[in-house]
């Protein structure tokens, strides 16, 4: 059996926010509490790739043990229940309480590393390369460093090589690297096409969806909690980024007429000068 630990995060739909919604609160936070939540897209790829390992005919009856772990509040439970219905074996939520972890990847990495060492004992940790709010792009790398494990980044495809190893494809500068990787290792998932998380069947939701979620608190991880008292990178300010142009609207009765105006008034001269 190969043990996989899958840390994931959920994210507010930032594209749903209007310009006014980016007004800051006094504590340098943006109120995203009213926006819909979704999987962090890179973590979603990691979760789906872990399931695809079992789909592959070559894996035969080989058994994977999947433990999904998230650091987040109660809204995360809905997502953990989806993973339960997808037959994930263990579901763990670590409640951060009031801690602001947006720009604290070292705290999240410490939680993941401590959980891996003390409880999950995984062969591989699969996680997305970055979250959307913090844009830190650090957590998998720090997790590997804290554990003293190697890390393969920008992973785009996985296959089972044998009962201890995975065949890993990843993007590197100038091409693609393919390698057979032994446990233990952290795999940081990048832009992996066709890895939207599958939808559980109604039957599986009924049969597996009520699996209990293990709830832990940040205080259960003293090493991580201790890091909260100070950061090597302290947030000083947040400013909305505005990148606007003229946005001249072409108006006409039909799309064809609009295309003609676009070509005649704006493109023809520019194309001729190229």
């Amino acid at each position: 059996m190969m043990k996989l630990l899958l840390p994931f995060s959920i994210t507010p739909d930032l594209e749903a926010l209007s310009e006014e919604d980016w007004a800051l609160q006094p504590d340098l936070k943006v109120d995203t509490s009213f926006t819909p939540l979704d999987w962090n897209s890179f973590d979603e790829s990691a979760l789906e790739m872990s399931l695809k390992l079992s789909d592959n005919g070559a894996s035969g009856s080989f058994c994977f043990h999947r433990c999904a772990l998230t650091v987040g509040g109660m809204p995360s439970d809905r997502f953990l229940k989806t993973l339960a219905a997808l037959k994930f074996d263990e579901l763990v939520r670590i409640d951060p309480g009031d801690a602001d972890l947006r720009f604290r990847p070292e705290v999240v990495a410490r939680v993941i590393a401590d959980f891996a060492q003390a409880q999950a004992h995984p062969d591989f940790i699969l996680m997305g390369r970055q979250t959307q709010v913090g844009d830190n792009a650090c957590t998998p790398l720090l997790t590997a460093e804290l554990l003293g494990w190697p890390c393969v980044t920008q992973v785009t495809a996985l296959e089972l090589a044998d009962k201890h190893r995975l065949r890993v494809t990843g993007a590197v500068d100038g091409g693609t690297a393919v390698q057979t990787v032994s446990a233990p290792c952290v795999l940081s998932i990048g832009d992996a096409p066709c890895t939207y998380l599958r939808v559980p069947t109604l039957k599986d939701k009924m049969a597996y969806g009520k699996k209990p979620i293990t709830l832990l608190r940040l205080s259960d991880f003293p090493g991580a909690e201790a890091l909260l008292s100070g950061s090597n990178a302290e947030l000083r300010s947040l400013v909305p980024i505005r990148k606007e142009r003229e946005g001249v609207l072409i108006e006409a009765d039909t799309p064809e007429e609009k295309a003609e105006i676009l070509y005649r008034d704006y493109l023809k001269g520019r194309l001729n000068r190229l």
Partner: protein
Amino acid sequence: MKGILVLNACTNDYPDQCRLLAGFLKQRANGIEADTAVVFHKEEAGHDELLRAVPVQKAVLIGLPQARTETMLNQLAELGGSGETAVYLFAGNCFGSELAVRMGQRCGGTFMAAVDGVQCSGEQITVTKSVYGGHMEAEFALKKAPYCLSVSRSCAEPEEGTGRSAVAAEERTVREGPENGFSEDYTLIPGKEEKNLETAPFILAAGWGAKSREGVESMAQAAEKMGAEFGVSRPVAMNAWAPMSSLIGVSGVMTKPEICIAAGVSGAPAFYAGIEKSGFIVSVNSDPRAPIHRKSNVAIVDDWHKVLRRLSEISEKPLKATRKNEE
């Protein structure tokens, strides 16, 4: 504050890394005096050629059998562990983004990925970077050296011809140790450089509004007819409606065409970063509230399919045909 550039000459984007970091130092960094570059290279690489591209005075050349980050990290940890207060700058490509964070952690310093700017004043150092998916800019005060920063690929205009024939301050060759024992059969497959999005003067970019593989193919045909290169946003590439090599944005190609038509694109910052240096942007999206309209020079609120079909019919001199005739 002392600055040290870290460059990876094992990959074919080495000249781009040099130009990006030279541009960053000139345009986006204040108070950094960078005079040294650490250059990882393949053993067989010609040192003179490597040194010509280095945008600072001195270089430490480190020869490797293969471009493996674990091996590079061991070297960097040795370098950063000296206790010297310095800023290490890495290009924000795959290698640089990984090495900056892991080196910072390994050396007990401060790390940050995709930094847009650095300000140093005495021992004080602050950096800016985009957060919230590109909607906000954050400023951070960094507290503990060494400061290991990877530089955002879109923050600075690359500096051309900055190579000043650096002097090799040190040359060494490193044998691979046990650090790569976790990995077997490591094979590097060079990417196909079929597309020329980075330098294309005219681009048609397709977004999620294409709705299907057929929609994307229809847009690609319109691009072909108009003589434009064709690129896509991340959702399109993630659905495998177009190859990853055509991905535009922070995960893909950063373009700077004279003209960019963004069709069916919402205007999410991660995508827009890839076209923001365009000379002229046209948006075509049936949703009048799509943010791309405010970020374009000219906007059409309508069905992209009909607009592009007509546009491709009336484009009199397709650029590609003109070029072929000239050749």
